[in-house]
Amino acid sequence: MSQIREITWNGVWKQNTGLIQLLGLCPLLAMSNSVVNGIGLGLATVLVMALSNLFVSALRSLIPYEVRIPIFILIIASLVTIVDLAMNAWLHSLYVVLGIFIPLIVTNCIVLARVEAFAAKNPVMASTVDGTAMALGLTWVLGLLGAIRELIGTGSLFAGIEMVIPSAQAIVILPEDYPGFLIAILPPGAFFVLGLLIAARNWFDARANQRARSQRIHVAQSAQQSAAT
């Protein structure tokens, strides 16, 4: 059980795809212009990654090592096609907004990376959890990035939520006369905000490390003192 917890923690925080591995940046930067777009693409990726890890892990003893990459891609592409058609059928307006980035999940290197690096070598249960956790890590970064950019850019949150939940509406956070800041919604804003998020995370880690180190020194010192007395 502790292994499952470690895999989850790895995916969601420690090896976060958006903030640490920096894999799959193209959809991350392109589709994080609002919370709904970001979470929408993120959840589609969760579905693809969980299933692709599951299938590859289940089939891993049958796949010849030499041709594994084309087979992985075939499996991933079939799953993406299913997600693509399903979203077209049930979430059509969101599907139109996300556009090319749904089919492009096939080429998202994080999907192939997890299949190759994890699912091809680990049992089914662990692989499925890994795929889900990695994609959830991507999803929350997409959502946070989308929220910051949307808030700075337009002053509201959850624009386009009616595409998913027909009765819901966008929340206006900042006062009506907020002039907006278009750059945040445009691609440069994605780079700036992602850069700041990575910096914040590094700062957070550095502080945690420093605290742990000073604690260790403290423990060592008190151990020395007690040994001396």
Binding site: P179, G180, F181, L182, I183, L186, F192, G195
Partner: protein, 342 residues
């Protein structure tokens, strides 16, 4: 005691920056004369914002405050921002732009000497993309109502009232006239009918340009900047505009118009010559500045933005390291690959 050779006098960043600011004064004087004292308010706003942002970032980065605050580099950035923005822009636009220039374009890249992009031009590009409407409210020439200008800056005036005191810049007037769908206007016709055109450039702007030109020539005499960049920039703009207006003078404005409207003169002597983000070798400087001139003309003529200098400078900033690498002069006493000696 200095070692030989003795002809290099050590100059401090502070003295360079102070002389750059002194060189801006003729242009600012002409600006005040033709467009009112609002620009002085903008200069003050930008200066205060720049110093505050600089102090904040220096203390966050653990750098000595007085050494870097008094070097004047933040003030030069602030002045360039104020001078490239409309003088009746709302106060928060100037402050926001200045803070973005100092915090993002300067300090996040490593501070003075490390920034790959010209901070003032980053601020200009950010604001013109985010607030194109506010960035095109230029004061009309001859409008000296200081109280009204103050009200425009500090936001107690309605949009209509602000519209009444603004005027399209000559570049804007020309673009709108040439691109209007039905009317077959020519350059000469557009400039004649526009109230924004002056004797050889834009009304009022031509004399501000002359002021910058004088200040810039003094900077060259003081050896703060070399002749390469201004000359290459002006030559590129002049030759391109001249060639095209010779071929079809009804569709392309002439060289004098291009040199004395918008930010051309300010750009030639004060923006393109930024020692940090531009090329540094003599031949590199020529290529860099000529590239800026070329792109400026292209963006002004075919683009949708009011002036092309900011984007041209940013685009050429990207190429500066490559230009430097390709134009490395041979070391004294040696030959380079092509057998040239210095």
């Amino acid at each position: 005691m200095n070692n030989s050779p003795f002809f290099l006098k050590p100059t401090s960043v502070q003295s360079v920056m102070l002389r750059v600011m002194a060189a801006l004064i003729p242009g600012i004087a002409a600006y005040v004369w033709f467009f009112g004292a609002a620009i002085l308010v903008q200069l003050a706003l930008a200066s205060v914002a720049a110093l505050a942002a600089e102090a904040l970032m220096l203390s966050l980065r653990g750098k000595p405050l007085t050494l870097f605050l008094t070097d004047g580099s933040a003030l030069v950035t602030a002045w360039l921002i104020a001078l490239t923005f409309p003088s009746i822009a709302p106060w928060w636009l100037t402050v926001f732009a200045t803070v973005a220039a100092i915090v993002i374009a300067k300090h996040l890249y490593g501070g003075l000497g490390q920034n790959p992009f010209n901070p003032a031009m980053v601020a200009f590009a950010l604001m013109i993309v985010a607030y194109p409407q506010l960035m095109s409210q230029w004061p009309a020439a001859g409008n000296h109502e200081f109280a009204a200008q103050l009200q425009a800056i500090f936001g107690t005036r309605t949009i209509d009232a602000i519209d009444a005191m603004t005027m399209a810049t000559p570049l804007d007037a020309l673009r709108t006239a040439l691109h209007s769908a039905e009317a077959k206007t020519t350059v000469a016709g557009a400039l004649q009918s526009s109230t924004a055109s002056g004797q050889f450039g834009g009304k009022g702007w031509e004399w501000v340009g002359v002021g910058y030109l004088l200040g810039g020539l003094w900077l060259i005499q003081q050896r703060i900047i070399t002749w390469h960049m201004p000359a290459a920039f002006i030559a590129a703009l002049f030759v391109l505009a001249g060639l095209f207006s010779l071929v079809d003078s009804t569709q392309f404005a002439g060289p004098m118009f291009h040199l004395f409207t918008g930010g051309a003169m300010l750009g030639a002597f004060f923006i393109v010559t930024d020692p940090v983000s531009g090329a540094t070798t003599p031949r590199g400087k020529l290529i860099f500045a000529a590239g800026v001139g070329l792109l400026t003309w292209v963006i002004r003529t075919f683009g949708a933005y009011p002036d092309g200098i900011a984007f041209a400078v940013l685009l050429m900033n990207i190429t500066a390291p490559l230009i430097d690498l390709a134009t490395q002069p041979p070391v004294f006493g040696h030959k380079n690959d092509k057998g040239q000696t210095p």
